[in-house]
């Protein structure tokens, strides 16, 4: 579907969807608001009262906002900040497609509450390249055909960079073990291992 098919011509599908869930502030106590939401009275009113403030640095830019406490870091990136490079695969911590770095460590953004990332530094696939110059791992994935459909690729690359930084890319077996949290349904695994091995052997600081 075209991004502009919904809503007015100058509005993206995402911002249109966000506006349709716009909220009205009504004076309710938090407990009453939660009660209202859990009884499906008016979830949006309740959410407005219970929002959590968050300040987080993403790819070097600081963002300060109020969010629904239920927001995962993955949804914050994709829906609130429109950084759609990070992918939602299973949303249950089983596939690794949503892998990002929080304070330098690879984590699953789908199982991270955005509120808990308050004050953290987050790096996503969008933050890996240096301007137009691809990160060595991105270049290696292209060279070795480390993907087919490409959906798992941002998570694979974020995980691969961490795998080398952690010192867990010493052999093909070790790479396989430490990349096991990233599932590729196309089965590009041998080429992914090739790409990581090449970057590791290249010895450059990544």
């Amino acid at each position: 579907m075209n991004e502009k098919e919904l809503g007015c011509p100058n509005e993206s599908r995402r911002s249109f969807l966000k506006k349709t869930t716009a909220i009205t502030a009504v004076a309710l106590t938090p407990a009453a608001a939660i009660n209202a939401a859990n009884n499906h009275w008016d979830e949006h009113i309740a959410a407005a009262i219970e929002n959590v403030s968050l300040s987080v640095e993403i790819n070097g830019s600081k963002h300060t906002m109020d969010i629904d406490p239920r927001t995962s870091l993955l949804d914050l990136l994709r829906e609130n900040l429109h950084l759609t490079g990070t992918k939602k695969g299973c949303d249950y911590g089983q596939c690794g497609a949503c892998t990002v770095h929080v304070n330098g460590e690879r984590v699953l953004s789908c199982l991270t509450l955005a509120a808990t990332a308050d004050g953290a530094q987050v790096t996503t696939i969008e933050g890996l390249a240096n301007g137009d110059e691809l990160h060595p791992m991105q270049t290696a994935f292209i060279k070795h055909d480390g993907f087919q459909c490409g959906y798992c690729t941002p998570g694979q690359i974020m995980s691969a960079v961490a795998c080398i930084r952690e010192g867990h890319a010493g052999s093909r077996d070790e790479i396989r073990e430490y990349m096991s949290g990233n599932i590729c349904r196309c089965g590009a695994y041998p080429n992914i291992v090739d790409a990581i091995e090449e970057v590791q052997k290249g010895g450059q600081k990544i």
């Binding site: 239920r70 984590v107 991270t112």
Partner: protein, 329 residues
Amino acid sequence: MNLFQYVRPAEQKSAIAAVASGPTAKFLGGGTNLLDLMKRNIMHPEKLVDITRLPLKGITRQGNTIRISALTRNTEVAEDKTILQNIPLLAMAINQGASAQIRNMATVGGNLLQRTRCPYFYDTAMPCNKREPGTGCGALEGFNRMHAIFGFSDKCIAVNPSDMNVALRALDATIVVSGPKGERKIPIADFHRLPGDTPEKDTNLDKNELITAVTIPISPFSKNSYYLKVRDRNSYAFALVSVAAALNMDGNTIKEARLAMGGVAHKPWRLTEAEKALAGKPATEENFKQAAQIAFQGAKAFKYNQFKLKLGPNAIVQALSVASGLKQV
């Protein structure tokens, strides 16, 4: 996911008070299990008390005891020099659980409280006495391939999914907890429960108690220990069966043995009788086979997990063989 209140108290005392003030409030650590269960509408706390900023991190050695603070991440434990030097079994077990990303997030306290991965517990369309007491057990007559062979009841045949817990059971860990009434220490043997008539209770931790640390005595097993995990794929899968084996050897003679299993019961399962049978014996395959046979007296399988009655003893023999140095991996 239900709506919940999110709070982040600065102190342990206020965090405990925040959980105590909400009947369904929960502590939030790494969140890798709790958020998953909330997304699936299996758990619906009214309040999450974020404890990740509390100063409950790090690994210290005090005399002959290693103390791991509860919010220490699984990766940190598995790569810690003190752990690797003194209790490598724990590092081996942790490294065979989950994925690198999840181990970076998951805490030691949270791993102790990991809930079962029984598919009937996860499927809200199915009966489950653990999820909804009184509705029945879907696994009993269902697809029970992953299920228990020891210590189950007719109310629940689920297993504890943790690898770390199996190593902690073999190493005689103690769980330090803090609650509104103060601190208490729970030996790991008494921490997790068997299902009995109350499978909804996984552990003997009170609702308002917070795990603050795990302590482990340093014992002379570091040279001869091994964690064997058998699973459907080589990595990133829950155990069909797993074995933590730790031996104190004098030459080829076993002075003392520790054996615990995962994937076989509602709690990490210690094989005390088999341990006794090994004490004072030479490390031979014959003796290992005998110990495995003793360990499996009383095991009972269901329709789809009959294979565990053979796989389990074989895994025990293999783990003991590697731990003793009889076999190389």
